[in-house]
Amino acid sequence: MIGDLITRDVRRGTTGTAWLPAAFFLLIVALMPFAVGPDARLLGRIGGGVLWIAALTAALQPIERLIEPDRADGMLDQLFLHGIADESVAAAKVFAHWLTFGPLLLIAAVPGAALMAMDGAALLRGEIALAVGTPGLAALAVAIAAVTAGLPRAGALAGLLLVPLAIPLLIFGAAASSGGHAAALPLEAAISLLLTAGAPFVAGAAIRASRT
């Protein structure tokens, strides 16, 4: 059943608007040369950080369709009646969401790095940092989606909640991208792991609390 749920969520995630977060990501990156000027050395230096700001913005984009439609349609109730713990449902949703979000972002980072005049080594560092960090970002998005499911203007509230919680990931992710400190990548991995491991419990509790 969990496998079926992941397959279903991936299918629903990849039909229709799956490309939107990646498009958002590229749009934010493309704004930077306009905002700070076309100086290639400057762009290259801030490129790692810009990729992360863009990734954070892109992570906000799909939040409203992660949990709320299934809550409103009774899917979550029926999964519970089939004996699947809310935490397991949330974990499946984190995995499925990463599958439709992470790889596309990694692909979009290639043209993104070119726009920021980043060289090959910087692109590789950025890709590694994004690959390590996107599971944490996806998990955080699912947890926030569950907490805000069913609330009016949930999208705006979700943004306010997600961005501050993602700051540690942003700090170490951006540092690992720019290659300044050797410890940045392990620290980013630790935070990403913490978010990925904790999110299913937060989301599961939120799903239970939202039942009326």
């Binding site: 349609d73 009774g74 109730d77 029926q78 039942r211 009326t212």
Partner: protein, 182 residues
């Protein structure tokens, strides 16, 4: 084997006491209808029996159940048969009984409300659970639908299943009645 037992259950929703001291036992082959005016807590009682709500006090012993309420819980972009198959089991027999077998290739989003109601009932019938929880099962059903539902419930009870239904209308067939005060 008792399929559902409430002992001195108290349920409060949003500060309002819906019922207290509720005792209820459902044995195999039984059908129990919860009746009462709008807002008296019929749906809450069904959700309590499903384990979706917790009682404020008292004990609820429940066996695995299948629930049909106003929520469709079927993927709208999928053909009906595939959407039902997500929930496991073989939906063909239930779809035949409820008269929606010919709708198998039709996307769920195109179903009328009566057809959607039949689909949620087919999901319950295909679940293999012994305890069926039905919230307003007659909503949107036409005369033919009511007749088919009645036959489906009779067959389920003959096999040793039990049904708990909430409705403000008179349900077809023989039901033990529990009246909730408004």
């Amino acid at each position: 084997m008792t399929l559902l037992r409430f002992e001195q259950v108290v349920l409060r929703r949003g500060g309002r006491l819906l019922f207290e001291g509720m005792d209820l036992v459902l044995e195999p082959g039984e059908a129990l209808q919860v009746a009462g005016p709008n807002g008296c807590g019929k749906s809450s009682l069904i959700r309590l029996a499903a384990g979706l709500l917790r009682a404020e006090r008292g004990k609820v012993e429940r066996s695995p159940s299948a629930l049909a309420d106003d929520n469709l819980a079927l993927d709208r972009e999928l053909p009906l048969r595939r959407a039902l198959q997500f929930w496991g089991g073989a939906p063909d027999e239930a779809m035949e009984t409820l008269g929606i077998a010919q709708l198998a290739p039709v996307p769920v989003r195109l179903l009328s409300s009566g057809q959607a109601k039949r689909a949620t009932l087919a999901r319950v019938a295909a679940s293999g659970a012994w305890l069926w929880l039905l919230d307003e099962p007659l909503n949107a059903l036409d005369a033919d639908g009511v007749e088919r539902l009645s036959r489906l419930l009779d067959a389920h009870r003959e096999r040793g299943g039990a049904v708990l239904a909430a409705s403000h209308l008179r349900l077809p067939g023989e039901w033990r009645l529990t009246e909730l005060a408004g």
